[in-house]
């Protein structure tokens, strides 16, 4: 995925803060989408959204922490950066324990915030890319025959062809053919990448 698809979702009850944050993001070419309350955001939220969330921890009505809780129930993978005020540190620490990406204390420097947003977006992209690759690897794996799967398990465990042949009661030549098919179907250019795919699939 690219930067262009990423949107920073801003949830803050203060109109000036919301508007100025959008303006700040615009100055670095990041798209912002602002919501004035936790409820408004939760109603609009869609699993397909990409980017990160900038969430005011202290809001009337649904609090920032409550928004975080509900999003996690809905399996939202967007990183959350909390904006906290004076004396909110204990709350922010709890939010971090509950999986928040980061928090930033008001008043903050614009660069400090932008850096964290960039980090959050980068982290999100990495996890998304990894998820996509994992899905792809699983699809490739499912195209293997049962015998090829057996050979692959043995190969990634580091067994030599001769050992595999003995274990599976096959000729060494047959194992070699299976092995070549596994590498081809899994699109692994080396044993190392096959091991990596195997680990990823089982993660």
């Amino acid at each position: 995925m690219s930067d262009a698809e990423s949107i920073v979702y801003i949830v803050d009850d203060d109109e000036a803060v919301r508007d100025s944050l959008c303006f700040l993001l615009k100055s670095v070419g990041i798209a912002g989408n602002a919501f004035s309350s936790g409820n408004e955001f939760l109603e609009a939220y869609d699993l397909g959204w990409q980017g990160c969330i900038l969430l005011d921890i202290r809001m009337p009505g649904v609090s920032g922490m409550e928004v975080q809780r509900q999003l996690s129930e809905r399996n939202c993978a967007l990183p959350i950066i909390f904006i906290t005020g004076h004396g909110d540190i204990p709350m922010a620490v709890e939010a971090m324990h509950l999986g928040a990406f980061d928090f930033i204390q008001k008043p903050f420097h614009d660069q400090e915030l932008l850096d964290r947003i960039q980090q959050a977006l980068a982290t999100y992209r990495e996890t998304q890319d990894e998820l996509a690759l994992k899905k792809e690897v699983q699809e490739r794996y499912e195209k293997l025959t049962p015998r090829e799967k057996e050979v692959m398990e043995a190969v990634v465990r580091g067994h030599a062809n001769k050992v595999i042949a003995m274990d599976l009661e096959l000729s060494q030549r047959t194992v070699e053919i299976h092995r070549a098919r596994v590498m081809e179907k899994m699109q692994a250019r080396s044993l190392a990448s096959l091991v990596k795919f195997s680990l990823l699939r089982n993660s």
């Binding site: 203060d14 000036a16 803060v17 508007d19 100025s20 944050l21 303006f23 700040l24 615009k26 100055s27 670095v28 202290r58 005020g85 004076h86 004396g87 540190i89 008001k106 008043p107 903050f108 420097h109 614009d110 660069q111």
Partner: protein, 357 residues
């Protein structure tokens, strides 16, 4: 007498413990032999600690009982210094030709917990609507002030960034500047409100009775103390002269100082978790309220700055509480002062002039 579910304590007419059953031992954490002959006061917490003498005296003199045959809730004190609420019924007996009083106590801790939650919610509401302590108000102000400041900073830094990158849109920057202007005014408005709050002309003066003022806030203060395992003892001298003051603001000072006292003893040992408040006549024309904690005391090097605005020793403090307390005291032609106690802790005192007839 030892088989009773209620704690039974027999005292002599002058308040000395003569019998103490096993339930009482469990309830108070004392062995009977440890309390025999001791004054009943050692088992009483809060205002009851001091009132008890008066009750017995009054009864013996006038025959008017405040408690006999009626029963009421009292604050009792365990041997470890923790307080609990109990229902006390007292009967008078005469045997061996002497007058004695029999007290029967039932521990109301569990029953009280539910009631307390309700009371606390109620108090929180009061807190929010009018008795908000200075510190909380200042924190709320700071939060509010942070909003326009954050917005100003965002607009300004974004505009700078746009201008530096060379692809600025003048219209965008003009809008940002307008927003900056508006937000600066908004911040000014918040500060003006903060100043109004403590401005002398906004004090609504009335003739008030200090005892009544303290009575009104003592449930809230005791709740706060108890929540922090601190025993609060309040004593108010009889016949205090009236003062002319803004009741709400005086209550705010007292609550704020009590809160500070509680905070000062957050890490104190159990035997030192005692907060005292005394109201008395310190001069013919002056009423004084002392709040005495047993915390760490005020370090020498910060004594001078203690009342400065935004000076705080608490990690989450705004440093506004004492500053505003002092402003209020001065607006009442009064004084706020403090002195480290000889042994432990600090005494904060508010002195207020009495009503001039």
């Amino acid at each position: 007498m030892n088989a009773f579910i209620e704690a039974i304590i027999v005292i002599s007419a002058d308040g000395k413990i003569e019998r103490f059953n096993t339930t009482a031992e469990k309830m108070f954490g004392y062995k009977a032999e440890d309390v025999m002959g001791k004054d009943i006061n050692i088992l009483m917490a809060g205002p009851d600690h001091y009132r008890h003498d008066n009750y017995v005296e009054r009864y013996l003199e006038t025959g008017k009982a405040k408690i006999i045959g009626i029963g009421r809730e009292v604050q009792a004190l365990r041997s470890d210094g923790s307080a609990f609420i109990a229902h006390l019924a007292v009967g008078e007996v005469g045997w061996e030709g002497r007058r004695r009083f029999v007290g029967m106590l039932r521990d109301l801790t569990d029953t009280k917990a539910a009631e307390e939650r309700k009371l606390r919610q109620h108090q929180e509401m009061i807190n929010a609507s009018r008795l908000t302590t200075m510190g909380e108000m200042a924190a709320a102000m700071a939060h509010e002030l942070n909003q326009p400041l954050a917005a100003i900073s965002n607009y300004a830094s974004a505009s700078l960034r746009m201008m530096k990158s060379g692809d600025e849109n003048l219209e965008d920057i003009e809008t940002a500047l307008q927003h900056i202007d508006a937000q600066a005014h908004r911040a000014g408005e918040i500060i003006r409100r903060l100043r109004d709050f403590v401005r002398p002309e906004n004090i609504s003066l009335e003739v008030i009775n200090v005892a009544a003022v303290i009575d009104e806030i003592s449930p809230l203060a005791e709740l706060d103390a108890r929540a922090n395992n601190i025993t609060l003892r309040i004593s108010v001298a009889d016949n205090l002269p009236e003062i002319v003051a803004d009741q709400l603001q005086i209550q705010q000072i007292i609550l704020n100082l009590l809160r500070n006292g509680v905070d000062a003893m957050k890490d104190a040992d159990p035997e030192n978790r005692k907060l005292r408040m005394k109201a008395y006549c310190s001069a013919p024309d002056e009423v004084r309220i002392d709040i005495i904690d047993r915390g760490q005391g005020v370090p020498e090097d910060i004594k001078e700055n203690l009342f400065d605005p935004f000076f705080s020793t608490k990690s989450d403090g705004m440093g506004m509480g004492l500053a505003i307390c002092q402003t209020i005291a001065k607006a009442h032609s009064g004084r706020l002062s403090f002195l480290n106690n000889p042994k432990i802790g600090t005494t904060f005192s508010i002195s207020l002039p009495t009503k001039v007839d």
